[in-house]
Structure formats: structure tokens, C-alpha cells
């Protein structure tokens, strides 16, 4: 008896799955997704042109200030112009990463924030899958961050070349970009999750930036400060994202800044695992909540 009543339910379930997967041509899905990316990207450039233009100036300026900091004994980081002379990317990794994280967070708020969430009602009313809407918006954020990062590094390189006659090699530009992007992608994924949770429960999406700020900047600062100066427990800092990012990207920096000398390879691999898993898990969970949301 119970089988009789369950069978139609199972049939319905599989029929639904089949419909969801094979309802349309996959090429159509790709066309839709790329069209949303095209439109959203154009919109970002139109609406955020001032900010993006500013970031092209700010990113190289901060990187450059940082790179010459050691000359003025205003040590923002351990490595300055000497590092660049050795074709090292170490000098601008941290500050560049921080700035690109900020750009990523800002783009995330723009794409998934409250205003965008309202505008998405129109997308929801069109014959497009929610998954495609989410993927398209995520790709737009990543693309925006990547392009801003790349342009920032190229502008920085230009300034550096004009000022000092030193130019980064192509490989170093790519490495630099990769280094500053790793943190930005993690920040984007986590912020996206918080923004979508905030939208789901009807909170202002600007609240979502608070946990990201805590996770990335405030907690590492407090942990570092308290453990090192108050309790003498520097190991606690290893539990922060910023430390894991430093470990994960350390192996790419030439010459080595020394961190990996005291670490085993497994620590580096674990750091990548932590960053990858947090980014991936955040994206999947955010997509799940987004797909479940009602507009």
C-alpha cells in the first residue's frame, strides 16, 4: 500500500529533475548567462565608473607608496624598493591584496546587494534559470575584480618604470595578479554568502560587510595584538584568514620572504585547501539560498 502511494511521488521527483536538466538546450543557457554578464558588466561600468577610475589611480598609488616606504623608514611592509629590484612581488602583495579585496566586496554589494536584489525581480520574471542569474552575477563580480587588479598592476608597472627605470617581467605581473586575487576571491565568496543571507531574511545588505570585515581584518588584528602582546601566544594568529592567505601565496614570492622556510609543504597545501574550501562552500551555499529565495 505504501509503495503504491510512494511511486507517483518518486516518479514526480525524477520527472522534475529530468525537466530541470534537459528542459532546454545547454547552448541557450550559455547564451543567456553570457548576455546577463554583458549587460551587468556594462551597467557596472556605467554606474560605478567613478569608483573604478579611482581604483585605477588608488591601487597603483598605494602599491607604489608601499614599495618606496622603506626608503623613508615608514615601514608599511617588510619589503620595499629592494624587493622590486630583485623582481619580487612581495612589496605590494599585502596592501594590493587588501585594496583588491575592498574592490571585490564593493562589486559584490553592487551585484547582490539590496538595490540589485530588487532589480533581480525582473530577471526572476523572465524565462531564465535562477542558477544562471546567480552564476552570471558571480562571474561579473570576478571579472570586474580581475580586470581592476590587472589594470591596477599594469598602471603601477608603468609608474614604476617611468620613476625608477625598473619594470616587472610579464611572469611577475601574472604572479602579482594571482597573489592579490587569491584574497579578493575569498573575500568575494564570503561576502556574497552574507549578502544573500541578509537579503533572504530581509535585512539591509550593507550589514553583510560587517562579518567579512571581522573575519578578514578585525579578528586577525585583535588576535595578533592580544596573543602577541598580552598572552604571548603567536600561534593563535594561524587561525585567521589573513595568515592562511599569507602562507598560501608565500611560495610564489621571489625571493622567499622566509615564511616557508619555517613551514612544511603541508602547511602551504592546507592553506590552499582552507581558502579553496571556504570559497567553494560559500559559493555553493549562497547559490542554494539564492535559488530557494522568493522575490
Amino acid at each position: 500500500m505504501s509503495n503504491d502511494s510512494r511511486n507517483p511521488q518518486i516518479k514526480k521527483f525524477f520527472s522534475r529533475i529530468f525537466t530541470l536538466i534537459f528542459e532546454r538546450n545547454p547552448l541557450l543557457e550559455i547564451r543567456e548567462t553570457s548576455e546577463i554578464i554583458r549587460y551587468e558588466f556594462k551597467r557596472i561600468i556605467l554606474t560605478l565608473k567613478f569608483f573604478i577610475a579611482l581604483s585605477f589611480v588608488l591601487l597603483p598609488a598605494i602599491i607604489f607608496l608601499n614599495s618606496i616606504a622603506s626608503d623613508y623608514e615608514a615601514l608599511l611592509l617588510d619589503f620595499g624598493i629592494d624587493a622590486f629590484r630583485n623582481f619580487s612581488a612581495a612589496g605590494f602583495v599585502n596592501i594590493g591584496q587588501f585594496l583588491l579585496q575592498m574592490i571585490g566586496i564593493m562589486l559584490t554589494l553592487d551585484s547582490f546587494g539590496k538595490a540589485a536584489d530588487d532589480s533581480m525581480k525582473r530577471y526572476f520574471a523572465l524565462p531564465i534559470r535562477k542558477t544562471n542569474i546567480y552564476i552570471a552575477h558571480s562571474i561579473t563580480v570576478f571579472l570586474g575584480t580581475i580586470l581592476t587588479g590587472l589594470l591596477g598592476i599594469i598602471v603601477f608597472n608603468l609608474i614604476l618604470w617611468i620613476w625608477t627605470g625598473i619594470s616587472l617581467t610579464f611572469l611577475l605581473i601574472i604572479k602579482s595578479f594571482f597573489l592579490i586575487s587569491a584574497g579578493a576571491f575569498l573575500a568575494i565568496s564570503i561576502t556574497t554568502l552574507f549578502v544573500i543571507i541578509a537579503n533572504y531574511f530581509g535585512f539591509a545588505s550593507s550589514i553583510a560587510i560587517v562579518p567579512t570585515l571581522f573575519l578578514f581584518y578585525i579578528i586577525p588584528f585583535l588576535v595578533n595584538f592580544i596573543t602577541q602582546f598580552a598572552f604571548g601566544l603567536p600561534e593563535a594568529y594561524e587561525w585567521t584568514f589573513m595568515y592562511q592567505l599569507a602562507v598560501a601565496t608565500d611560495f610564489m614570492i621571489e625571493p622567499f620572504i622566509g615564511l616557508q622556510l619555517s613551514l612544511e609543504q603541508v602547511a602551504n597545501r592546507n592553506a590552499w585547501l582552507i581558502i579553496g574550501m571556504f570559497s567553494g562552500f560559500s559559493q555553493v551555499l549562497a547559490l542554494f539560498i539564492f535559488a530557494r529565495s522568493e522575490k
Partner: protein, 314 residues
């Protein structure tokens, strides 16, 4: 003729899983719509009109019941359903910074048009809504009436068979309203489109529709041809407020000297234009931040209560 829309015993409860404060927005809604019908969902704020619209559109997950558009279940075949529906939401949710041509072209492509077709449609629709001069300009420079017309063009691109207008003229002045009325009227009359519109203004309902569904607190109270509903079935209307409102008398006096009966939180309107007058009262009350608990035909309500009691007893 087979119905193009079937709403079968639909209920929607918000806050079922995450909140203790549950709100029942739709209760056992059941009706069908034939191809070419122009229907008005009518009722005060909070009656459930927008929720019903969104449910038909497949934007909400139903707590109970099913909705079919051309035999496609809205929750099981959302893409097929949305292909057939153009939706004009109550709030103007499009990007204000993007030029008009970009947005319409974009929505055209997403509705499955080719690039060439989407471009042609963009030109045609901007011409149709009288915004061809705004081709390259962003909507942020438009007046609210123009924005509403622009929003209309986004809703009808791709020539959908069914069009849902959720309070399409709620934000604009009388002249702007007339323009939008005319546009919708011209668009709908030749093409035999099926239109469902929601409003809390009886004048809008009279101009735009030929069938009226009166809603109150998530239920359908009256459903019939608009003239019949207004002249025969809504001869006396009852308005019940959510809380005591001392200023209620002044507001009603200012409206006119029609036959009103006031008792506590209840207002009873008896007149040949009862629906129109009571609608004006409800709108005025809501403008003065007085919340309306219920708005329904008086006799009809009694009948419903009797039926409910009988059902409970049986």
C-alpha cells in the same frame, strides 16, 4: 474554450519555517481565466493581490494548491510559464543608469529573440510607449509617468500571451494615467491578450477590465463581470478597521454625505455607488495611515459567514 490560467485551491503562508509570526496571504483561491479575458484583482492594500500575481508568475512557492498556465504547472515548469507571461511589477525595478535601448534590447534577448529581432522590437516598443527620443538616455532622467511607460515596454517585449500588471499606474498623475490606460488598451484590444491587473482604484478597474475579482484578507469575496459586480453584488460595502481611529469620522465627512453607518471600527456604505465610494474611503484611510482590516460587500460577507458556520458544524 479551455482556460489559459487555472488557479486551484491556492494558499500561501509567509514565515512558515523561519518565523513564529505567520502571515496567511492567500486562502483557498480558486478561479480560471479564459484566453482574451481582462481581469482586475481589486481590493485594499494587504488583500493578497500582489501575492496572487507573484504566485501566478511562479515567483513564490505555494503553501497549498496548484497554478497552471496553458497546462504548465508554475512551480514545475517555471521557464515554460514565464515564456508566456509579461510581468509589470508594482515597483519600478530596473536599472536607472542604463540607457533605455540597452535595457529593452537585453530583456528581448533574454526572452529568446535574436539580436536582429530584439533590436527591431526595441525600436518598435520605444515608439509605442512614446519614448523614442529617449533611445540613448537613462531612465533616471525620466518623470515617474515616463518610467512607468518604460516599464510597460519591458513587460511586453517578446509579445507574451498573458500580461500581469501589478498596480501599473500607482505612482503617476492623472495625465500620465490616461496615457498608460490608452497604451494598455490599444495594445490589448487587437491582440486578444489575456490581462490580469491589480488595483485598489475602482476607476482603473472600470477602464481596464471586463471581469472583477474582489479580494479581502487573502480570499476571493466576489468574482464576476465588472458591471454586474458594481451594480448588483456590491450595493452595500462594509469596511472594518484594524484599530480604533478617532479621525475616521472627519475623513468620511470630508468625502461626502452618502449614507454611512458607523459603529466602532465598522463603516457600512449603502449606495448605488457603494463600491466606488467605499474604495475612496479605504484609499483616504490608508493615506492617513489608518489600517483597514477588512473590505467586503456586506450581504456577501454574511452569506460567507453562514456558509463557513455550516461547514464547521457539518
Amino acid at each position: 474554450m479551455d482556460p489559459i490560467i487555472r488557479v486551484e485551491n491556492v494558499s500561501k503562508i509567509f514565515g512558515r519555517y523561519i518565523s513564529r509570526a505567520r502571515v496567511t496571504s492567500l486562502r483557498d483561491i480558486d478561479f480560471t481565466v479564459k484566453k482574451g479575458e481582462r481581469i482586475c484583482l481589486f481590493g485594499p492594500n494587504g488583500a493578497g493581490k500582489s501575492t496572487l500575481m507573484k504566485s501566478i508568475m511562479g515567483l513564490l512557492k505555494l503553501t497549498k494548491g496548484e497554478i497552471y498556465i496553458k497546462d504548465y504547472n508554475v512551480n514545475w515548469n517555471p521557464l515554460k510559464v514565464k515564456q508566456n507571461i509579461g510581468y509589470l511589477p508594482s515597483d519600478l525595478n530596473f536599472y536607472l543608469d542604463v540607457p533605455c535601448k540597452e535595457s529593452i534590447f537585453h530583456y528581448g534577448l533574454l526572452r529568446g529573440l535574436s539580436r536582429k529581432e530584439a533590436k527591431q522590437e526595441t525600436e518598435r516598443l520605444l515608439e509605442l510607449v512614446g519614448l523614442s527620443k529617449w533611445w540613448d538616455l537613462p531612465p533616471k532622467l525620466m518623470s515617474s509617468g515616463m518610467r512607468q511607460r518604460f516599464s510597460l515596454s519591458l513587460a511586453i517585449i517578446g509579445d507574451p500571451e498573458i500580461i500581469l500588471f501589478d498596480e501599473p499606474i500607482s505612482f503617476i498623475d492623472v495625465q500620465g494615467k490616461l496615457k498608460v490606460y490608452q497604451l494598455v488598451h490599444d495594445y490589448v484590444k487587437d491582440s486578444a491578450k489575456t490581462v490580469i491587473m491589480s488595483t485598489h482604484n475602482i476607476q482603473d478597474a472600470l477602464v481596464m477590465s471586463d471581469r472583477l475579482i474582489l479580494m479581502d484578507r487573502g480570499r476571493i469575496i466576489v468574482d464576476g463581470p465588472i458591471t454586474e459586480v458594481i451594480t448588483k453584488r456590491c450595493k452595500s460595502m462594509e469596511i472594518i478597521l484594524s484599530q480604533d481611529a478617532p479621525s475616521m469620522k472627519d475623513i468620511i465627512k470630508a468625502i461626502g454625505d452618502e449614507e454611512f453607518e458607523l459603529s466602532g471600527r465598522k463603516i457600512l456604505v449603502r449606495s448605488k455607488d457603494a463600491l466606488q465610494i467605499s474604495t475612496t474611503i479605504v484609499n483616504k484611510l490608508q493615506e492617513n495611515k489608518i489600517s483597514v482590516f477588512s473590505f467586503r460587500p456586506f450581504v456577501e460577507q454574511r452569506r460567507n459567514e453562514l456558509v463557513e458556520k455550516e461547514e464547521e458544524n457539518s
